[in-house]
Subunit: 179 residues, 2 copies
Amino acid sequence: MTDRKGFTLWFTGLSGSGKSTLAQFLTPILKDRGCNVEVLDGDEVRENLSKGLGFSKEDRDTNIRRIGYVARLLSRNGACAITAAISPYTSVRDEVRAMTEATFVEVYVEAPLEVVEERDTKGLYKKARAGEIKNFTGISDPYEAPENAEVTVHTGSETIEESAERIMSYLEANGLLAS
Amino acid sequence: MTDRKGFTLWFTGLSGSGKSTLAQFLTPILKDRGCNVEVLDGDEVRENLSKGLGFSKEDRDTNIRRIGYVARLLSRNGACAITAAISPYTSVRDEVRAMTEATFVEVYVEAPLEVVEERDTKGLYKKARAGEIKNFTGISDPYEAPENAEVTVHTGSETIEESAERIMSYLEANGLLAS
């Protein structure tokens, strides 16, 4: 029935690394290529699926599993699901990958901590350093960088166009976009 | 982008009224008509999206909103989402309807309490009558029947084929299936 190959672009990276920005940048590009794109943004998904959950490892894992469940449903119905949550733990990223039926593309949105802390787009690093936010990834909570991501982009040293191009090239090379 | 009209079939009805059975029966029929079908079953969704929530009105409403969020994402990407949760409260059903962008078809899966209690497929009514399960819809918790459902099927007095035909007729009459 599905006449279009669905897939999941699973972004992972520190807060402020540019996951949501890159997802928004990619959306119209992918739509132009005929994809039904759905961005599952960390904050929006927490609001809709995980209200009441905190930032302990257990609660973070539950939140990520829920995002994974929705990405699985979307991608197996032909949509392109882009997830943009920090998803700091390798084990649950792998779990979500394993349960996804459509193609799963892990994208490591890499930027050095110094860079994202300097950017501090939401002012969260300052608060985390001051101890006002606990369990903050990269400061008081671990971030386990992926070792075998399908694509890695370096938002600290390349333009957003370059990062997007890297992802599009991967999708093309792997037959995930109609030519 | 979407070359197929998505829609939500929102089933509502008492436990044991036949929501899941009807959803499973309809799935291959809709697939044969070119639909990408995704059934969001009450129990499965609770496991994946709402673990930890109970059966108070507040928790039920949260669960229903989550199902509504996922149905909205699926249907706006061209899929046919069939939800099969009791969804006993009118207000939250209307809320979910209002937030859905694709066509929303409320299907009242009607069966008299005597009938579903007699069937008692999961043995839950017996436990509810014995007080072993609290907040059980129809016994110790309200069920607000829809007053303006797009389709009503009567599983106590019609065959599953008749119920399915009623739903398919509605979808055809409203241009939701390719002819």
